[in-house]
Symmetry: C2
Subunit: 155 residues, 2 copies
DNA sequence: CTGTTGGTTCAAAATTTACAGAACTAAAAT
DNA sequence: ATTTTAGTTCTGTAAATTTTGAACCAACAG
């Protein structure tokens, strides 16, 4: 049914490993990978299960987690009980911001650290303060970066 | 020797968990946490081991990994065989760039995906191309962001 | 009302990870 | 020369994670 060549299989693994790196489990990462490379971007539960060679429960868990994370949505067709799952790719901005926020939220912890650090290590404290400060700045600049990027494209 | 109050212990755990999130193991994250909160910023192998209550092997592995990742350095004193480990905090810019690069490197995979995707799904492909494009743009803009942040500070 | 489809949920098995403990080593101290 | 220090490396294992398979369920179809 979903016949994938070796290149695409390898890409699925690569995409899978990347997403493992950001905290998803292997099977979940592969579901994302499959949907990225599949020529038909809407796949059923069973197509996903079968193409990836995973169990129903693994497929169910992965799909539901991804739905929860807003990475996936599904469409239905009248007279067809199956759901057709696809990536919510148009939401990439929000997804990316959420990912970057994981890092920038560390800033709050650093500021807490500063409140409890001795004042006897000014150079050290200054570095922590700088890092925290830049993380906040980075966070604040993402919308502007997105805007500037859009502009640079239309130019 | 290294007497830490509950607040600092909690901060160590928080810093540890954050670093677990970016791929380090718990004990390794806690070593970073300890060095962030410790009033004495240079600690010996045994002080780290004892304060965190971890085994020599766990301490050895964590410290060597962090040295490898350039997150730690050590100093020595004549007539003292111990090494004194400390955070390479002044390197936070490089560390952060490396962390952001983990995300932006995904762009290359996306471009590979595009090479192998059918042309029959233009909207879908466009989203992938946009995401890849913005990741590249983000990567390219980090140095400028650092510069602008420095300027905004001195103002 | 009975069977089938499209899943979900649960318990157990398999795999992976993280760590401890003990044995070891190189350099320095006695 | 032998003991101590400051770690390293290896092996075993406990715990956590991930996955499977089987039982289950709700909705619809015949």
């Amino acid at each position: 049914m979903n016949n994938l060549n070796d290149t695409k299989r390898a890409l699925i693994e690569k995409i899978g490993i990347f997403h493992e790196g950001i905290g998803l489990q292997p099977a979940t990462g592969r579901v994302l990978g499959l949907l990225y490379v599949s020529d038909r971007p809407e796949l059923t539960f069973d197509e996903i299960r079968e193409t990836l060679g995973i169990s129903k429960s693994a497929a169910s868990n992965a799909i539901n987690l991804l739905l929860h994370l807003n990475r996936l949505e599904y469409i239905t067709y009248a007279g067809d009980r199956k759901r057709y799952f696809r990536l919510k790719l148009s939401r990439w901005r929000e997804t990316l911001i959420e990912e970057i926020d994981k890092v920038t939220e560390f800033s709050a912890t650093l500021q807490e650290v500063l409140l409890h650090r001795t004042k006897d290590t000014p150079g050290y404290n200054k570095s922590i303060d700088e890092l925290a400060g830049f993380l906040n700045y980075l966070h604040s600049q993402i919308p502007a970066l997105l805007q500037k990027w859009e502009q640079s494209k239309s130019a």
